[in-house]
Amino acid sequence: MDSEIKITAHIEAARPNTCKFAVSVSLYENGSAFFADREQAKESPLAAKLFGIKDVTAVRISGSNVTITKEGDEPWRPVAGKVAEVVREHLKSREPAVSVDYASNTFSDDEIRTKVQEIFDTQINPAVAAHGGMVDLLDVKDNKIYLRMGGGCQGCGMADVTLRQGIEEAIRQALPQVDEILDVTDHASGTNPYYAPSKR
């Protein structure tokens, strides 16, 4: 069976520590499953094995793809070889990539939308309102969250710090399986940024 399984690796230019492995057979047809650590990976026999590879920090299994994030400066080639080996061994075992229980414990896009909106309403917007800011949830698609910042956040020099260190963290704490969080704000059009960049 080994020889029939083709695995192609693709490193994302925007995230060089992340590599997507396209497998020629389906791994998880029910959607997308994300595991940020070994503890979470207990719900996925495949992810648990992948966390056994040195430097692996996150695993996403989606359809016939496995996306691995690693830390450190080691080149991808040896890590990719190990990932391919683990995936092939796993497929031989006939175990599911993701447990049946996992699906019942995860959320659909609609459920994510509801939960993120609640986070925005109860945690994020009351806080950024102190700077005249606001954050709108625009959409959730395929586990990806699209948001827009307004008021004092639009064009603010610290908007990305607030987004990546604060908003993203709050979402991931509540919903670890969320994929990317994308800011579609036109920051150049902000007319009242709380912190206007001014120090060269």
Binding site: A13, A14, R15, P16, N17, T18, T57, T69, K70, E71, G72, D73, Q123, I124, A127, V128, A130, H131, G133, G155, G157, M158, A159, D160, V161, T162, R164, Q165, G166, I167, E169, A170, Q173, A188, G190, T191, N192, P193, Y195, A196, P197, S198, K199, R200
Partner: protein, 421 residues
């Protein structure tokens, strides 16, 4: 996973580029700013409030914080944070420049004295207090000369004067700027050095200078103020002069005792060869770093973080495609009402991006009082000449509507102007 401490003042232009770079590398980040982030409670390990000016309190806060969240590197990326970054790094036994070397790079008098001790080619200089009688200064100065506040950056307060009468008025203007900025009263008065100016971007490793880029500045900087506009690379200087420039910059880093991390040097070139004007222990300012890419699209910020974490960087060579950036000059003093022509400017062949750093309704304050960047035009083309031409074409597409205000800027406006690079 590695953790870095980024010292990012709330007024920085650089937060986005550094946060993006850290994300790409997958490292944990703690952002230290002089004000508390409104979402600190959501991510206590992600934020730290620090008063960068008070090294004692910085020291205490970071030591306490690092017991829970140890750091692998500390990075200060502008003039207000490099000294604090060096102090923190020493306290945590992390790789860093010495505090003395960073302080010398931050203070124009200390810098000139260090260069002088090593017989580097620098203009003759004298140091005065802004509170001294300008008539005395005028009588002791040679003309043309340049007035430079020792602790302000990027040409803020820098003025060329051609004789005693100009010096009197410039001195009074500078006194107001220094007062508004609450900065050191010390002022350098140094000979004006004519010639072409270049900027060198480098990375120090074990005191050895690795040149990342040498930029030509094709617009003459003759004064009375020194607003920077176009940077283009690779330099069109002949190879012999480029070698002399690089050798001069390398000597300057050694004279200051800098050993590691990014450096940004500015030099002038005339018939006598290169003159070192300044060197800073930080990367190029504003968003200008976007004119550089390394390896397969790595940013300067990522290169800097990689070096600080001890990752390999030597194989990451600068993309050889000629590139450049134009720092859009502040059109005139007043309130910005409208900017148009941005899409037309973006459509100019070779222009890869335009970033506006000014918002509608903002008070515009040109040099020497001002300090903010208006915006940036980035271009990549086949030759440096074409890059320069395209930047000018794109700039000429931009139209600004500015509502005039009183030329005598009120103190509240001066106080809102932060120092610059």
């Amino acid at each position: 996973m590695a953790r870095i401490l980024l010292l990012l003042p709330t007024t920085t232009y650089r937060a986005t580029d550094f946060i993006e770079a850290a994300q790409r590398l997958g490292v944990h980040v703690t952002v230290a700013s002089e004000e508390k982030n409104v979402l600190e409670s959501k991510n206590p390990e992600g934020y730290l409030k620090l008063n960068f000016e008070d090294l004692g309190s910085v020291h205490r806060s970071v030591l306490e914080f690092s017991k829970r969240y140890p750091f692998d590197a500390v990075l200060g990326m502008d003039d207000t944070t490099v000294i604090a970054a060096a102090a923190i790094s020493h306290a945590l036994s992390l790789k860093s420049n010495s505090l003395e070397s960073v302080k010398s790079a931050r203070n124009k008098r200390l810098m000139r004295e260090a260069f002088s001790r090593e017989n580097l080619p620098i203009p003759n200089f004298q140091s005065f207090s802004i509170n001294e009688n300008p008539e005395r200064i005028a009588s002791k100065s040679r003309y043309p000369c340049v007035l430079k506040p020792t602790l302000l950056s990027a040409s803020q307060g820098v003025m060329r004067v051609n004789g005693p009468n100009e010096l009197y008025s410039a001195w009074e203007r500078l006194r107001k700027i220094i007062q508004a900025q609450k900065t050191s009263s010390e002022v350098l008065v140094e000979d004006f050095i004519s010639g072409q100016e270049v900027a060198l971007e480098g990375l120090l490793e074990g005191s050895q200078l690795r040149v990342l880029a040498l930029f030509d500045k094709p617009d003459p900087l003759e004064g009375p103020f020194f607003e920077e506009t176009i940077y283009v690379r690779p330099s069109r200087l002949d190879s012999r002069m480029q070698e002399e420039v690089i050798a001069c910059a390398a000597r300057a880093t050694k004279a200051l005792g800098l050993e590691t991390g990014p450096v940004h040097a500015e030099l002038r070139i005339n018939e006598e060869g290169p003159w070192i004007i300044e060197i800073a222990a930080r990367p190029i300012g504003g968003r200008c770093s976007r004119a550089l890419r390394f390896g397969l699209g790595i940013s300067l910020e990522e290169l800097i973080i990689r070096q600080a974490l001890g990752f390999e960087t030597c194989s990451l060579q600068v993309d050889p495609t000629p590139s450049g950036v134009m720092m859009i000059p502040v059109p005139r003093p007043g309130i910005l009402k409208k900017i148009s022509g941005v899409e037309e400017a973006k459509a100019v062949p070779g222009v890869v991006d335009i970033l506006l750093a000014t918002h509608i309704g903002q008070q515009l304050v040109p040099l020497p009082e001002g300090s903010s960047y208006f915006g940036f035009i980035f271009c990549r083309e086949q030759t440096p000449q074409i890059v320069e031409e395209r930047l000018r074409v794109a700039y000429n597409k931009l139209k600004f509507e500015v509502e005039s205000t009183d030329n005598n800027l009120p103190d509240r406006v001066l106080e809102s102007c932060h120092e610059t690079t």
